[in-house]
């Protein structure tokens, strides 16, 4: 655990005085302190291309009055700097309401250990393993022309100091191991990418030579794509595989259910609570409490303990995801979804691990029932327009389905749909619910935060596929 005031001319008591003095006329706010370190070791083109280590220390001081947020941050933790932030915040607050500051529920919950993934594995052993990954992936086949592999590790200590002296702490480890393979045959090039990770040490993910499976999977996807044909274009039935394809859920409904867009009534979902937004049997939750998952948090970035929030239950819209400010303005409680990328960023309601729960169908029956459609197994990324509800995601591994049978692999295509209506098109929910391998980063308003997704196989009645073949 970091001592934020150790090398500073100010101690926690003095800092608390400044916080209380600044926020006494405000509705909410806090001093958020963050000490992070991260590393990135990249093997590319047969060589260790870069080995970077980054440390960042700073604070973000926030004052909220009504629906107005004032924020000041700096990487200098000192009396002078905090005072100047305080002046800044005070000057932008003319209101005198000052009341809220609801107590935060105490918690001892811990969904990950406070291991330091960077220090628990030596740099030379990481470099050695990257070289082994490179050799192994290249030895798989003569078609492998390029291998990129990386270790990304991070440890973040945060403290939240509230007016009145309440101090909340968390230590968050995070790692990700990534392999990308490029293959070439008869002048045609394709890539496959796979990764694993979460809130544990590297070695927890490397047991049983797990890195070989990561290489195997990247190679398999790349080789499959070498055989791919142009994708069909137009509306058709789509079967989604389990796990990572749940970024469909994240884009199609997740973002639209974040509290800020709904308070501002700019989300296509803002007036749909209690209404049917998905087929029977569709239940979607956002869960910050799954052990060691990438999107899990003990407390969110405002100090609220995370929880398992039911968003859609059996097709009916139940709840939005809230941070403290949006919850207060909508007369409800924070669901522990208040997150920020770092002390340099303001808090927003953000997803954690967004999951569609399993149903009763098998993937086999789904495929059998499709006359003409596609089977999408893996995706690159996605994006959504909150207001119109239109969302897309990009297939990185997909096949055509003809007369109930899986056919040739097809080239990466974008799928587009409409959030509020797409989940009403769900025809079957699989019994094979699976989490993603731990690689997701969600972007919103320029801030990236680690998230998880999960879902069973799904059959969707119609989506538009962005291929080139008509």
């Amino acid at each position: 655990m970091s001592n934020f005031f150790q090398n500073s001319d100010i101690d926690v008591n003095k800092a608390e005085k400044i916080v209380s003095d600044t926020l006494n006329k405000c509705d909410d706010g806090e001093l958020y302190l963050e000490d992070s370190k991260s590393e990135s070791i990249l093997l590319d083109d047969n060589k260790i291309k870069s080995s970077n280590y980054t440390t960042d220390l700073g604070y973000g001081f926030r004052a909220i009055t009504g629906d107005v947020v004032a924020y000041s941050h700096s990487n200098e933790i000192s009396n002078k700097s905090l005072k100047s932030s305080s002046e800044n915040l005070k000057s932008s607050h003319k209101s005198n309401i000052g009341s809220y500051n609801t107590d935060i529920k105490k918690t001892n919950q811990k969904f990950y250990s406070d291991v330091d993934p960077i220090e628990t594995k030596s740099l030379s052993s990481k470099i050695e393993l990257l070289n082994k990954i490179n050799e192994y992936a290249r030895s798989k086949d003569s078609s492998v022309k390029q291998v990129t592999a990386s270790f990304l590790g991070e440890k973040k200590d945060i403290e939240i100091l509230r007016s009145g002296g309440e101090l909340l702490k968390d230590t968050r480890p995070l790692v990700r191991i990534n392999v990308s393979v490029m293959v070439e045959k008869k002048g045609r090039k394709e890539t496959g990418v796979y990764g694993i990770g979460g809130r544990q040490s590297y070695d927890d993910y490397l047991v049983n030579d797990n890195w070989k499976k990561v290489c195997d999977e990247a190679f398999r996807i790349a080789s499959t794509n070498l055989e791919s044909k142009p994708s069909p274009a137009g509306e058709m039935q789509v079967v989604l595989g389990p796990g990572w394809p749940a970024i469909l859920i994240h884009e199609a409904v997740g973002h639209g259910l974040e509290g800020d867009f709904n308070r501002k009534k700019t989300s296509a979902f803002h007036d749909l609570v209690g209404k049917k937004v998905a087929s029977d049997g569709v239940t979607i939750i956002d869960d910050g409490t799954i052990e060691n998952r990438r999107g899990s948090l003990n407390i969110d970035d405002e100090g609220t303990p995370t929880e398992k929030t039911v968003l859609i239950e059996n097709g009916i819209l139940k709840n939005f995801m809230q941070d403290r400010m949006n919850a207060r303005l909508m007369n409800t409680k924070s669901t522990g979804n208040g997150r920020r990328e770092s002390y340099k960023h303001i808090v927003m309601p953000r997803m954690r691990n967004t999951i569609m729960l399993g149903g009763n169908n098998t993937q086999e029956e789904m495929i059998k029932s499709v006359n003409k459609g596609i089977f999408a197994v893996s995706f690159g990324g996605g994006q959504v327009d909150i207001t119109s509800g239109k969302f897309v995601f990009n297939c990185t591994e997909a096949y055509e389905i003809i007369n109930g049978k899986i056919g040739s692999p097809i080239k990466g295509a974008t799928l587009i749909g409409d959030g509020p209506s797409s989940l009403k098109e769900v025809l079957m929910v699989g019994n094979d619910m699976m989490m993603d391998p731990g690689i997701g980063t969600c972007g919103k308003a320029g801030q990236g935060v680690p998230v998880g997704v999960g879902q069973p196989s799904l059959l969707i009645n119609k989506m538009t596929v962005g291929g080139t073949k008509i």
């Binding site: 090398n7 941050h73 700096s74 890539t191 119109s388 990466g412 749909g417 538009t464 962005g466």
Partner: protein
């Protein structure tokens, strides 16, 4: 206030000398300071205000052909010393790479700095609020605008120093002013959003608030009650805010890092015709006051003007020191990518371009990241308007457009309405024979 050169120099010098003392054979350091202020407005009220000061260092140490880097925001002397030590220790265990080196001394920037990249003007909060409030008011004067996603005004002032152990040490101040307005339109159960923004080094070069608000409103209203069209092959006209994306794909595909690894569809295409003969592309780093202008790249190498494509033929790559060595070319100062990149104007005006076919699709928004630079495959979600006989008609959405960049590049027709508003700029663009995925 941003820190002056003397302070930044002192920090950089401390890192370099400490690294040398430890036994590093070479080192380079970048010290960056920036102060940014941002105001958000929503429904005429302040929604948020933000002020940030950041100071950071990035250090690379070399032990002969071994190399490693660190970066940090913690610049007290004790912390710097321990970071330099950590960097040096990491360098020791990093394997050698023959190509690792500082850039050639003779390529270092040595000229005069006359591009005028820093505006002293300080826009106080009141002025920021007035500016963006005027934009939002203008947008709301359109009766179909019912809500806002927020509008913002930001000001960033930065200063930096880049120093290396080959004697390079230089830096300069830059400024950036940005205004943004995003509004929501509503009609008959249809809700849409759109935006306009302006971002310039000089305050006086910004678009007027009225223009921003007006344009955002017009775009959002034009999208209301869209139709979905059926799948077919079509000619597509790309609005300037989308056509410039094709230049970004192009510049990423010809960066030496991609060329050296072979992970680009434009490998081995130098002196080959990758566009039709009417297409010319320039990357010009020395335009006064321009967003993409710079004197030297991340390595201190002078940025020269490049003709990348002449009469459709690929003439040059964007090259940095490391990857340049791998492909036997000298750095041309593009370690950080392109500078002010643009398609030269075409020879047809906008009106004639949209009349060039009976029925076309006008695309002014795409969604998703469906561009594969290894294969050139392109597939994105899109929205826009149907064009018939040169008239922009009803809005179209929830469709995809797809093709391959190899053939898209051959089938581009450019209008003559280029404006240098961003660091990447294109005239309105027509691409023939793309696939639209719809009903």
């Amino acid at each position: 206030m941003i820190k002056n050169e003397d302070y930044l120099n002192k920090v950089a010098e401390r890192c370099l000398s400490k690294a040398k003392k430890l036994g590093a054979t070479d080192a380079s350091a970048i010290v960056v300071n920036s102060v940014s202020e941002n105001i958000n407005i929503r429904n005429k009220k302040i929604d948020g205000s933000e002020r940030s000061e950041s100071l950071g260092i990035n250090l690379t140490t070399y032990i002969n052909k071994k190399k490693s880097s660190i970066s940090s925001s913690n610049l007290n002397e004790k912390s710097i010393d321990s970071l330099v030590e950590r960097c040096f220790e990491a360098t020791k265990v990093t394997p050698e790479d023959e190509l690792n080196s500082l850039p050639d001394k003779e390529l270092h920037f040595q000229g005069q700095k006359k591009l005028n990249l820093f505006d002293e003007t300080e826009i106080n909060n009141e002025k920021k609020i007035n500016f963006i409030r005027e934009a939002e008011d203008e947008a709301f004067s359109n009766p179909q605008i019912v809500n806002t996603n927020g509008s913002a005004f930001g000001q960033v002032k930065s200063n930096f120093i880049l120093s290396n152990s080959n004697g390079f040490s230089d830096g300069y101040k830059t400024s950036q002013f940005t205004a943004y307005c995003e509004v929501v339109s509503k009609n008959n159960g249809s809700m849409e959003r759109d935006y306009e923004y302006t971002s310039k080094r000089f305050y006086n070069d910004l678009l007027s608030p009225k223009k921003i608000g007006n344009r955002a409103a017009e775009l959002a209203v034009n999208k209301l009650n869209p139709r979905k069209i059926k799948s077919e092959k079509m000619n597509i006209v790309f609005d300037k805010r989308i056509s410039k994306n094709f230049l970004s794909y192009f510049s990423n595909a010809i960066h030496s890092s991609a060329i050296a690894k072979g992970t680009t569809f434009l490998k081995d295409k130098i002196d080959k015709k990758i566009f039709n003969e009417k297409i010319n592309i320039t990357d010009k780093g020395n335009i006064e006051k321009a967003n993409g202008s710079k004197y030297f790249d991340n390595e201190g190498v002078e940025v020269k003007e490049l003709t990348l494509v002449k009469d459709g033929i690929l003439k040059d790559y964007l090259i940095d020191t490391y990857n340049g060595k791998k492909i036997n070319k000298k750095s041309n100062g593009r370690s950080g990518g392109s500078t002010n990149l643009y398609f030269e104007n075409g020879d047809i005006n906008y009106e004639d371009l949209i009349k060039s076919d009976e029925k076309m699709l006008y695309i002014n928004e795409t969604i998703g990241h469906g561009t594969n630079l290894i294969t050139g495959d392109y597939s994105v979600g899109a929205s826009g308007r149907m064009i018939e006989k040169g008239e922009l008609l009803y809005p179209v959405s929830e469709i995809t457009i797809a093709g391959n960049l190899n053939s898209i590049f051959q089938n581009i027709v450019l209008a003559n309405d280029l404006e240098l508003n961003y660091s990447t700029n294109s005239p309105t663009m027509l691409v023939t024979g793309m696939t639209v995925g719809g009903r």
